[in-house]
């Protein structure tokens, strides 16, 4: 093989990489659009009347997630399956956001923490690296931390909407989450930083519970909550 043949082949390989990145960028943009639509849908729960329509909103969000799955399917085809980490940065941000949205839907439906497996299924990807396009563990955790923030806000707005039991349940959930995170020996700087924010969410919710307690509204809540279920 002549030197110039060798270099022509090399040139081909270099160009290919650029093309792949361009393709990935396009799909990621579409994913961001879908994520924004789901967000808009779910924001409604914070407002007074929204509390009554949570199930319907969740159902609608579930429909949007089928679009996500189609887009993810497309994303997977854009690059060789075993080069996930070569291009990771491109979809990292939107994936964390989608994890949050899925976790929010699951929480609203069942008041439980979505597992990594379940969220992967909702997004149409794998929980396990060996099995294909997967959900990186740090991205999962990052999405879960965003959920905690959102729930702190939801606790405040529940009170405004007259629902005094929800903050107590959120408080228990967030406390459990906090215990979970304490088990982790976080090294990663950005994740550690975001985790520090969790303490403020815990504190905020605790203050709401405190406000309810000193007014005896927590008891009312327990009764009310009992009746609601």
């Amino acid at each position: 093989m002549s030197v110039s043949d060798m270099f022509a082949a090399l040139q081909g390989a270099l160009g290919q990489d650029q093309d792949i990145r361009e393709e990935i960028r396009k799909v990621v943009q579409a994913l961001e659009q879908t994520a924004r639509e789901i967000l808009t849908l779910l924001q409604g729960v914070h407002q007074g009347p929204g509390f009554q329509h949570i199930p319907k909103k969740c159902q609608k969000a579930r429909e949007h997630f089928s679009t996500v799955r189609t887009q993810m399917e497309s994303l997977k085809t854009k690059f060789p399956a075993d080069q996930y980490y070569r291009f990771h940065e491109h979809w990292r941000f939107v994936l964390q956001r989608l994890v949050f949205l899925a976790a929010f839907v699951v929480y609203l439906e069942s008041e439980t923490l979505v597992t990594r497996e379940a969220v992967a299924e909702i997004l149409g990807i794998e929980a396990d690296r060996e099995r294909g396009f997967h959900l990186d563990i740090e991205d999962y955790l990052s999405g879960v931390l965003t959920l905690a923030s959102e729930l702190a806000r939801l606790a405040v707005n529940s009170v405004t909407a007259g629902d005094y039991s929800r903050p107590l349940r959120i408080s228990a959930f967030i406390n459990e989450l906090d215990s979970g995170f304490r088990l982790l020996n976080l090294k990663n700087d950005s994740l550690r930083k975001r985790y520090d924010g969790l303490k403020y969410d815990v504190k905020k919710i605790e203050e709401v519970v405190y406000d309810l307690s000193i007014r005896g509204l927590n008891k009312e809540a327990t009764v009310g909550a009992g009746g609601e279920k």
Binding site: A172, N175, N185, K199, Y200, K203, N218
Partner: protein, 270 residues
């Protein structure tokens, strides 16, 4: 053949080459020691960090004593590592390797002073820390038996001194942990700790202010974060005070016992 070939480059037995071979030995010895110390320092850092993580569980768990004990075990393990450091430094100018071990020692100061605060609600002194870093031969026998007998016969002690600057930097980072402790105390309905912490942090802040820029740059660099931490703690106390103002003080205990029950109930559920 081989001999001749080596000659091509430079005479391997020339005075210059001979001295460079001795330099090689000296440099390698030094670098190896440095490397070992860096690794020990990393281990010390990691284990100290884990101890801090563990101690943060103290507030939330009812099993406080257990956690304190566990942290003591962990810190003992860290001190065994520090002993290894001290042994490496026998006959050396410790400052030569200071950069290798300083990060680990700072993190140890942070961990040990955190534990000390939780136990005594006061600041451990640098002397107190250094007292725990004097190791005797018996300690050594437990762990390493492979050393020569001649040494074992006389009672040895090794020690390591945390420098004032390492101590200060560790204490500066401690304040970050104390701030976290304060925020999660509020999150756990503990209303006394935040006030104690704000007083304690203010003392440390005043201390750092007093030292100001007479210390090295690293110390004054921490001042900003320290001030932020203090502000967060002061704000937390403020919030407690303001919210607490709405009911008579004697009722507060009720409020929190109720709260604890509620959580206990929850934990009892499947």
């Amino acid at each position: 053949g081989q001999r001749r070939e080596e000659k091509e480059n430079a005479n391997p037995s020339s005075a210059l080459m001979t001295s460079f071979k001795s330099f090689q030995l000296e440099l390698d010895t030094r670098h190896d020691k440095y490397e070992r110390l860096v690794k020990l320092s990393r281990d010390i850092t990691i284990e100290s960090k884990r101890t801090i993580f563990l101690l943060h569980r103290f507030t939330s768990a009812p099993n406080g004593e257990e956690i304190l004990k566990e942290s003591e075990v962990k810190l003992d393990a860290v001190r065994q590592k520090i002993k290894q450091v001290a042994q490496e430094l026998i006959g050396e100018d410790m400052y030569q390797f200071h950069r290798a071990i300083s990060p680990g020692l700072q993190e140890y100061v942070e961990a040990v002073s955190f534990q000390y605060f939780i136990k005594t609600r006061s600041l451990i002194s640098v002397e107190e820390i250094n007292k725990q870093l004097i190791f005797t031969a018996e300690d050594r026998e437990e762990t390493t038996n492979t050393t020569s007998n001649s040494r074992d016969k006389q009672p040895h002690t090794w020690s390591l001194k945390v420098t004032p600057v390492d101590y200060l930097l560790g204490v500066a980072d401690l304040t970050g942990e104390l701030m976290r402790l304060c925020i999660s105390s509020v999150g756990n309905g503990d209303i006394d700790t935040p006030f104690e912490l704000s007083q304690f942090l203010r003392q440390i802040y005043d201390g750092f202010t007093f030292i100001g820029n007479t210390g090295p740059y690293e110390v004054s660099k921490k001042l900003y974060t320290l001030k932020q931490s203090l502000a967060k703690v002061e704000n937390a106390c403020y919030t407690l005070k303001v919210r607490g103002s709405e009911i008579p003080k004697h009722m507060l205990a009720d409020v929190f016992s109720t709260k604890t029950e509620l959580i206990d109930q929850d934990e009892g559920l499947p």
